[in-house]
């Protein structure tokens, strides 16, 4: 047993690992079941009932096809083992289970027979006879029919209906199949002899002895045991010495069979029939065995039940675990799918916003080039065609208007040029703000040093830069402000910039709104807010909030 454990564990691991593959490959499963059955049979031949039971139970749990012959065979063996162990109700349960699913015919008579034996052991002879009847009907084999007939005879024998028993058993002695099978012939002969002995017929002892001779030749311990017991019983009232010797032989044989029930009975006979001083020892052994047997039986019954229950539970747990895994897998897959979908949705929305914002910027630049440059260039062209440029004042006028065009184009370029978002950003931003300071307007910057710019994304930095630039252009163009204050407030989760000037204020409904609208869109794209508060002659205020 010990040497098998590592191999078994390895095997369990293997099964657990390839659990799902196994279902698709019943061929390998068959091999596994066959392996279990072979092991169980090996233990059976060594009379190691619990180990045999363990492997048959494993084979049972491995079998997926409940209608297969292999499954029925396994259940039959299990039921037989349960019966042998005295677990009669367990045996009946197994058989009932088997009969519920089994659709074949091969093992049917064996099941009925086993059921009948179980009832015999419980002394429920009526039920036993019913099942023997069924077993006989289920089999076509004449030897099997004859064997069952012998069992029926035994039922009457046990029920003390010796004459009826004899009338059933005697014809079997001439049955050709029985005659051909020495073991079965010996069995029938023994039963016949025992019935005759009970009926005080002289040929009884003759038949019992003939059967014993046959059995001693065959050396089949469990049948020998029966003969010894019967003979001991026969001699009990005739020759106590002989009775004692048979009882002793029965006791010795029972030890070989590993059948405690038989051993107990043999000991009982020995105790009752022995005159030797050993009788005290025998009776002591009898009581000890009886006690330990009761305990062992209860434990064994529980153990058998436990093996059955444990493996059932393990199977359920494997299924449960598998289901749980499957559920988790599905859940994870579902979440992933949702995340991916959301990501793509978010991407497409962002992309659309970006494209829209890029398009707006393009149209704005195009409009400015048209409004601020093209018209003036055209004007300058007409001027050169219509005026005498040799005249100094005309030449100066043309140069003036060309300078204006040049400055405007520079402004447009400046407002749309690249913004450095690296370490230069803070300096560049401050310089940009400062560049709007001139003789007319003072730009005052408050607490800009409190902002840690690298905590903001490049897009946010660009938005802040462009929006402030837009606000200042707006103030310069329309506001006629003396002072502009840009107040940076570093808040825990956001950056707030308060922009105020003391100029004319802007009428937000008028034409200059497009630049501010553009600024607002930039901030909204960063999930920030930009609010304006302005009335004519009361200055202009804006509050910009950008999350970190």
């Amino acid at each position: 047993m010990k040497t098998r454990i590592p191999y078994l564990l390895l095997w369990l691991f293997f099964v657990g690992f390839f659990y799902s593959c196994k279902e698709e490959k019943p061929a390998t499963n068959d091999a596994v079941i066959y392996d279990y059955q072979t092991k169980a049979t090996a233990f059976l031949s060594q009379y190691q009932w619990d180990s045999a039971y363990y492997y048959y139970n494993k084979a049972k749990n491995e079998t997926l096809d409940k209608k297969s012959e292999a499954y029925a065979y396994t259940l039959l063996q299990l039921a037989t083992l349960q019966q042998g162990n005295g677990d009669l109700s367990g045996c009946e349960e197994t058989i009932t289970d088997a009969l519920a699913t089994y659709t074949g015919t091969t093992y049917l008579p064996y099941f009925y027979n086993l059921m009948a034996v179980s009832y015999v052991k419980q002394k429920e002879y009526e039920h036993a006879l019913d099942f023997y009847q069924k077993a006989q009907e289920a089999t076509a084999d004449s030897l099997n029919k004859a064997i069952i007939q012998n069992n029926i005879g035994l039922v009457y024998l046990l029920n003390h209906s010796y004459e009826q028993s004899l009338s059933i058993l005697e014809p079997l002695l001439t049955h050709p199949q029985i005659q051909a099978n020495e073991l079965e012939y010996a069995r029938v002969l023994d039963n016949v002899g025992y019935a005759q002995f009970q009926l005080q017929q002289p040929q009884g002892i003759e038949n019992l002895n003939t059967s014993l001779q046959l059995r001693e030749r065959l050396q089949e311990p469990s049948s020998l045991l029966t003969s010894y017991m019967h003979l001991s019983e026969y001699h009990q009232s005739r020759d106590s010495k002989l009775a004692e010797s048979y009882a002793f032989k029965a006791y010795e044989t029972s030890k070989k069979v590993n059948s405690p029930d038989d051993r107990l009975e043999a000991l009982k006979w020995l105790t009752e029939n022995s005159s030797s001083p050993l009788v005290k020892d025998y009776s002591k052994m009898y009581f000890q065995l009886n006690d330990s047997l009761t305990t062992a039986r209860t434990t064994a019954k529980n153990q058998f039940a436990k093996i059955k229950y444990d493996s059932k539970k393990a199977t359920q747990e494997v299924i449960k675990y598998k289901n749980q895994n499957l559920f988790l897998l599905l859940l994870v897959a579902f979440i992933l799918l949702v995340v991916v979908l959301l990501y793509f949705l978010y991407q497409s929305v962002t992309k659309r916003k970006l494209l829209q914002s890029a398009y707006l910027t393009e149209t704005r630049i195009s409009k400015r080039i048209h409004d601020e440059l093209a018209n003036d260039v055209f004007h300058a062209m007409t001027f050169t065609q219509t005026k005498d440029l040799h005249d100094t004042s005309n030449k100066e006028q043309l140069l003036d208007s060309l300078e204006t065009i040049y400055k405007r184009s520079r402004d447009i370029s400046k407002e749309n040029s690249t913004i450095r978002t690296d370490d230069h950003f803070a300096v560049d931003l401050e310089q940009m703000l400062r560049s709007f300071s001139d003789a007319q307007t003072a730009v005052i910057i408050k607490s800009i040093e409190s902002i840690v710019w690298h905590k903001f994304s490049d897009e946010k930095k660009i938005a802040v830069f462009r929006v402030l630039q837009e606000l200042l252009i707006n103030t310069k163009k329309h506001g006629k402000a003396g002072v502009v204050v840009v107040d940076f407030q570093n808040q825990s989760r956001q950056l707030q910039i308060n922009y105020t000037d003391n100029g004319l204020g802007a009428d937000l409904s008028l034409q200059n709104k497009s630049g501010l609208q553009n600024a607002e869109n930039r901030i909204l794209a960063m999930k920030g807010t930009l609010t304006f508060d302005s009335q004519p002659d009361k200055g202009f205020r804006a509050q910009l909030v950008i999350p970190k």
């Binding site: 940009m432 003072a442 003391n502």
Partner: protein, 222 residues
């Protein structure tokens, strides 16, 4: 006066103008490059021949025409040239008027002059070359002079707001020191408060303290 000048400029019309100025100054050896990348071999060659350039005149922005370039801007060119010939004087001639960019040219690239392309730039360019040739100081177009003035004075902070607020609540200037000490606001010395108030009046273009408070109120900073 300089003898050998390298001009990095991609527009022919502007090149013509520069040529005109340089010739007026009797500079004989003039080399042109239209890409920054082409400038370096010329500098190297001149150094190897023992006749290095006396002056580099460069634009900042160069048109991209699909050619793959290692040096894309004037700033990069100047940095690279200075590595080869650290003491070469550099004059930048550009439309760029972004003050921070110009400031960093003077501070980081240590250029010797900056002329803004504009109506008077031909004359300015001439002056700049003469100035750089005769002086260790740098040249900057007059319209950009304000850029290099120290303007950190236009920053205000919470202390300034505290001062303005207390004044607006009727606290006298002399009392502010005591009140600040009580409230644990620092710095709070009499001289600091006086200096701050002076700075604020200039910044907010206020004629007196009352005017300052009025402007601050209007701007809603207090």
């Amino acid at each position: 006066m300089f003898q050998k000048v390298l001009i990095a400029e991609d527009l022919d019309s502007i090149n013509l103008a520069i040529d005109h100025v340089v010739k007026e100054l009797a500079i004989t050896e003039i080399h042109h490059v239209k890409y920054c990348d082409d400038a370096l071999p010329k500098i190297k060659r001149a150094l190897a021949d023992g006749k290095p350039f006396d002056l580099l005149i460069s634009d900042l922005s160069f048109k991209e025409d699909g050619r793959k370039v290692a040096l894309a801007s004037g700033e990069e060119l100047i940095t690279a040239v200075r590595e080869l010939q650290p003491d070469i004087p550099v004059l930048v001639y550009s439309v760029e008027d972004k003050n921070y960019r110009i400031k960093s040219l003077f501070e980081e690239q240590k250029i010797n002059g900056f002329v803004l392309k504009g109506r008077d730039s031909i004359l300015q360019l001439k002056n700049a070359i003469q100035f750089i040739a005769s002086s260790d100081n740098f040249f900057l177009s007059p319209e950009l002079k304000h850029i290099l003035l120290d303007k950190t004075g236009d920053r205000i902070d919470d202390l300034d707001i505290h001062i303005l607020k207390h004044l607006s609540l009727g606290v006298l200037q002399e009392e502010i020191e005591v009140v600040f000490k009580q409230k644990g606001i620092t710095p709070n010395s009499k001289s600091t408060i006086e200096k701050r108030l002076g700075k604020l009046k200039v910044l907010f273009r206020a004629n007196n303290t009352v005017h300052l408070i009025a402007i601050a109120k209007d701007l809603a900073i207090i």
